[in-house]
Symmetry: C2
Subunit: 494 residues, 2 copies
């Protein structure tokens, strides 16, 4: 795999002088076209062996293009903000939007690579990590991003020479650390693991480009030309014709026995029982948040449900039990312009809570498989892959010790009608009812099927859905509170 | 995930009688259309908990459709032929061709599932196995197959009831074994692992359909309708317009320093040295094949190279050292009709050797990234994904203790011309030179780039390419023989 990158590639000064003006002009042009068309985001990874010129390459790219629309990220130690969130959070938060270029140095590959080289994770775990990366990059590509991956390579001899040279010069001595020599001693191991990594993550959509790092002119010119070529090709390509992919539609159950229809919506609580229980569970919840171990976990609560099912009321009964600094309510509506320029899941990643905190989502990432599916806002293949992406997302949170609680608040059609009419009458509630609510109501059956598919495909052993019979608000609120308490208790091992 | 499959779905006799005629007619029609159009192959998986009706379902599908064009595979214990090959061999060999339907019971999922439930493999290894499955199914979908996956579910109570009932009836008692009860005791574990498995392998292209297994009519009708719907949808869909995917082309090295060009083609051996070495290495090879440990491995040798580079001669120098019952030479030319109806890699899978055997490929799966790429026989996305598929394929062989040796025999353009002309003159060699050879020669440069990309992307730490300077036949043959000996010695730990 590294054979061609050990041949001693070199570019003479003459060629350099001849090619650079055209390359730079081309890159600037392409960057401008990208910025104006906002066709897609560009993710460039610069990885490879130590001293192969990763940093210099990024500096040069910044110099060659308009640096206001490139952002380079050399992520090293995790900040405390990042430490408290799932591993990929640090990358999600800095993904470039459509029209912009993000350059990542080191990147999501370095962690698993180093860990395996130093024997801290086994090959099976390395493979797990790599598969997560493949899924992440596949998601980026599916969402339209151009992903370019460069691996700067040096032979063992060349790396040693490089380290010695840097060490000799007082001006660059600081760049060589104990750790670099330690890495160098593991060169063979490092090379072997890198090869395994490159092999398994070189996909058709985002193949690695291995570049010999020895000669700077060769390195820069190669990377520059590959970037320009890929940019131009994507910018100039005609929009592919939209055609429905050959994914068969999901069929509803043949016997009309939908899980939503099996709920007993007559369930009720009397007012005085309600008040007792409310006090009991709010107290329990509050106590839990003050538990010493609560500092090690975070809680994400998702509220989905029919319009007017009482999501807001249930949320308030939770937050009443919490310290206001400890929670955030995230109302999810149509995406903002900034959010539309990012992968679908981006706006949820940015709202993952820190440890010791709650994030309460009033509607959520499930919009993809509910409203977007029913209203046809995205093609079938997009919402079909969303089930997988959502399960992935929740799994990453859970691995980071987040308790993920998901509620579907269900009311009957009659109850909804009653509430809609009441809302129209009461002045201070009128803002809560819009034409859209009435339109959604017309599609009751389609939404019902979408909800059942959502439950079937995303109610998992690690993040189950809780279906809440919500015709009676008292009953619903207590069921919600009780479930939240129980799930947190389970996470705390109580 | 199993919520909807525990609701007690049932279909009455009346509905059954009403729906079945139309369903059966529809299925037969669709099957005939499929057979005549040969548009795609259909792979149906029937998996799930014990006693949920997997076998009966398959029987019924066979009854409903024309059984001559359906093949059902209930693969249980590995045959000795299968035992000696990579794990997926048994599935590859029975994949349905385009136009036909293959039904798999149990399938590639059962192994990893059972192993994990019984604690014989850890979660990380389960994930590795599942990712291999995802890649396999992705390949099937990329190659155009329709993959339908059914999971028949029973609740714990229902399964127990089923087992008891079967045991009670003397006619069905034989169907319940000790092992079934053993499985039953692990129901909760089994359920949990299944859920993890279904979650991670439900992709947009081939999502699982979970079917409650309790009521036979419900089960049959659901599966029948899903199959009919998917078949019809794919059969009736217009061919998607062919458009070049937005994958950027691979760029050649900017400095003309190609690895092929760095070979010293002047390397030579004198005739008498050649004869000594030939005897030495052939003897060594023969001895190796009679080593006791050789019975535990197999050897795959791949010959690629320029036309007239001497592949045949090199192969003969190997086989001279072997027992004729121990090797097969597989000449690879344009695929046969049978092979064209299968995924690209199928014709190589069927030729994987047993233990203690050699398979020598005169040209190989690398045709995908050489001739098919250069001649445009397949779109770029197909040969780009082939690098990954090829590495996967070789990795599976190597995990099964196959020694994979790959040779590129390189000659210069001048040497090739000399040999072409000589072949045209000598009567008994004339069959070896065709118009196609001359045409290929015109594309020397394009082939050169394709070969270099092939080396860069598939010369891996586990299956490296050996580049052979072949202007001198003596030199080439000895280098080949010596490499084969060394690689086998390494595998035998000598």
């Amino acid at each position: 795999m590294f054979e061609s990158a050990e041949l001693g590639h070199k570019i003479g000064k003459d060629v350099w002088k001849r090619d650079i003006p055209e390359l730079r002009e081309g890159l600037l042009d392409a960057q401008l076209d990208l910025l104006q068309s906002k066709k897609f985001p560009v993710v460039i990874l610069v990885a490879g062996v130590d001293c192969a010129g990763k940093g210099e390459t990024v500096n040069l790219l910044n110099e060659w293009m308009d640096p206001r629309h490139i952002e380079a990220h050399a992520l090293r130690d995790l900040t405390d903000e990042e430490l408290e969130r799932p591993h990929m959070y640090r990358y999600w938060r800095v993904l470039p939007p459509k029209g912009k270029i993000g350059i990542f140095v080191g990147t999501w590959y370095s962690g698993p690579l180093i860990e395996n080289v130093y024997g801290r994770i086994k090959n099976a775990e390395l493979d797990q990590a790599l598969e997560r990366i493949i899924r992440f990059e596949k998601m980026l590509c599916d969402e339209g991003a151009l992903v370019l991956k460069f691996w700067l390579h040096l032979s063992a001899d060349e790396q040693k020479k490089r380290l010695k040279k840097l060490e000799k010069d007082p001006k660059t001595r600081w760049r060589v650390s104990e750790k670099d020599w330690q890495h160098y001693k593991l060169y063979d191991k490092f090379r072997k693991v890198s090869e395994r990594m490159l092999r398994s993550t070189s996909t058709a959509e985002s193949p690695w480009v291995i570049v010999e790092g020895t000669d700077p002119r060769y390195r820069y010119l190669t990377i520059g030309k590959v970037i320009l070529n890929a940019l131009r090709q994507r910018l100039d390509a005609p929009e592919p014709p939209r055609h429905e992919e050959p994914i068969p539609p999901l069929l509803p159950s043949i016997d009309d026995l939908l899980i939503l229809r099996t709920l007993d919506l007559k369930k009720k609580l009397k007012q005085d029982t309600y008040e007792d229980e409310l006090e009991k569970y709010q107290g329990r919840l509050n106590l839990l948040t003050r538990d010493e171990d609560f500092k090690k976990i975070s809680v994400v609560i998702v509220f989905e449900g029919n319009d007017a099912a009482g999501k807001g009321g249930s949320i308030r009964r939770i937050t009443q039990a919490l310290d206001a600094r400890q929670y955030r309510i995230i109302p999810v509506a149509a995406p903002t312009e900034e959010e539309r320029a990012q992968p679908y899941m981006w706006r949820f990643w940015r709202n993952i809570p820190r440890k010791n905190r709650f994030a309460i989502f009033d509607r959520s990432w499930y919009g993809r498989v509910l409203v977007e599916r029913v209203e046809g806002f995205c093609p079938r293949s997009d919402w079909m892959r969303a089930y997988h992406e959502i399960n992935d997302f929740e799994e990453q949170m859970i691995r980071n010790r987040t308790v993920v609680v998901k509620f579907w608040l269900a009311i009957s059609q009659e109850e909804q009608l009653k509430r809609f009419k009441a809302r129209e009458k009461i002045g201070f509630k009128r803002f809560k009812i819009t034409n859209e609510d009435w339109r959604n109501r017309d599609k009751w059956g389609e939404y019902e099927l979408a909800v059942c598919d959502m439950i079937d495909r995303t109610s998992t052993e690690i993040a189950p859905w809780t279906l809440v019979e919500a015709n009676d608000k008292y009953y619903a609120r207590i069921k919600v509170l009780k479930t939240v308490c129980e799930r947190i208790e389970k996470a705390l091992g109580k």
